[in-house]
């Protein structure tokens, strides 16, 4: 198996490297990729959409359909992880371990596991992984609010600086994943319950598609944000700029919820009891 695979790979690679000789030189301004729509976007994008960051303008306005379905693809990946992994039965729960918060003594509970007791002075421990490190916990506790603030900045400032819904949503989701890693999955689930991120995923996609449908209702094309001008106020360019922002917020919510959803399911094998 290895030798035929190596031969196939080397043949493909050799053909591609041979073909690369005809490619335009690196960073050549007259390369074909720079000739067709790209100059139009660069020269008219800021004036037509009010977003000086052309990547944002193309992403959410000129290529709005593409981005809408990319968001739907990400959401469906979250749904697939949920459908493949999520189980509700707790058949492998034979004992639970608790630690006293003050004296650090651990106890094992082996009876009455269907409704485990919740005690103020005890905290539940994972069976395999019990993070106790004070520095990691407090370091992450200090960092996470700033990470989330930065994520909101990246989403909201996507018009004028590198950023937008995808990047900000991933940073926001990563802050919750950091919480789940540095504490444990249950702590993260207390902050963001399964129900909440399960609802926020489709809400993100719905904000995007709903904005498009609203443009349709106002007598314009799907995702043509200029039609929102009577609702938002201002001229068509401002309406496009605000439409991009609304759509980016939808993308950010959807991506954040999906990242958390995938992480929770994959790390706990769908049981939502113990994380990594």
């Amino acid at each position: 198996m290895k030798i035929p695979a190596l031969m196939v790979v080397l043949l493909t690679g050799g053909l591609l490297i041979y073909a690369a000789g005809d490619f335009p030189q690196w960073a050549d301004p007259s390369a074909p990729a720079h000739q067709h729509v790209s100059p139009y976007y660069l020269e008219n994008g800021a004036a037509q959409t009010g977003a000086p960051n052309i990547v944002t303008a193309v992403l959410a306005d000129y290529r709005g359909y593409d981005t809408m379905f990319e968001t739907a693809v990400i959401f469906s990946a979250g749904v697939v992880c949920f459908l493949l992994l999520r189980v509700s039965q707790r058949e492998d729960r034979r004992e639970l371990t608790y630690r006293h918060r003050i004296v650090g003594m651990t106890i094992r509970v082996t009876a009455g596991l269907d409704s485990p007791p919740v005690l103020e002075e005890f905290e539940r421990l994972d069976r395999h992984w019990t993070p106790q490190d004070l520095i990691i916990r407090n370091g992450c506790r200090l960092l996470i609010p700033f990470i989330q603030l930065f994520a909101l900045y990246v989403i909201a400032h996507g018009h004028h600086s590198p950023g937008g819904g995808f990047q900000g949503g991933v940073i926001l989701g990563a802050s919750f994943i950091l919480l789940a890693i540095s504490f444990d999955l249950r702590t993260a689930l207390e902050r963001m319950q399964e129900k909440v991120h399960g609802i926020l995923g489709p809400v993100g996609v719905l904000i995007y598609a709903g904005t498009g449908a609203l443009c349709l209702l106002l007598g314009s094309n799907f995702l043509d944000y200029g039609a929102l001008a009577p609702l938002i106020g201002g001229d068509k360019v401002m309406a496009r700029s605000h439409g991009i922002l609304i759509v980016e917020i939808g993308v950010g919510i959807g991506v954040m919820a999906t990242m958390i959803w995938i992480y929770n399911n994959v790390s706990s094998r769908g049981r939502y009891e113990e994380g990594l």
Binding site: M1, A5, L6, V9, L10, T12, G13, L16, I17, A20, G21, F23, Q25, W26, A27, D28, P29, A31, A33, H34, V37, S38, P39, Y41, L42, E43, G45, A46, A47, P52, N53, I54, V55, V58, L59, R63, D66, E70, V73, A77, G78, V80, C81, L84, L85, H160, S161, P162, G164, F166, Q167, V170, V255, T258, M259, I262, N265, V266, R269, G270
Partner: protein, 133 residues
């Protein structure tokens, strides 16, 4: 000789992506462990992303954020496409990166399900277990 050197310096970035892509493709075809196959898939995706981003480069150009000042003075100036790199590959790869994370999640979820059923992630052992039945 100088032709050869200029040919190498103008195209060696493509060769790097092709080599990265071949590493990923080889891992996907030849490796026996499913996690290694998933890693190979991600290496492959990274090569494609690097290839697209390098297509967007232009000599002497800056990032595609139009230089703008406050008020009318900045907004009304004429934009030259030569001064900014191509935004289109960046847009395409922006979504592709997040989609690659999602496909990684789905692949890992499938791997977990396979491990639950066959208690191994080695491809030949899974195939042997399938033939037994």
């Amino acid at each position: 000789m100088s032709d050869l050197i200029s040919g190498i310096t103008a195209h060696y970035n493509y060769w790097i992506y092709v080599i990265l892509m071949m590493i990923g493709l080889y891992a996907m075809i030849a490796k026996n462990n499913l996690v290694k196959k998933i890693i190979g898939m991600n290496v492959f995706q990274t090569a494609i992303i690097l290839f697209y981003v390098s297509i967007g480069a232009k000599k002497g150009a800056t990032i595609p954020i139009i230089h703008h000042g406050h008020g009318d003075a900045g907004a009304s100036s004429i934009v030259q496409a030569m001064d900014y790199i191509n935004p289109l590959p960046h847009v395409l790869m922006l979504t592709a990166i997040v989609v690659s994370v999602s496909t990684l999640g789905v692949a890992l979820a499938l791997g977990i399900r396979l491990y639950d059923r066959y208690e191994t992630l080695e491809e030949d052992e899974i195939l042997a277990r399938l033939r037994e039945k």
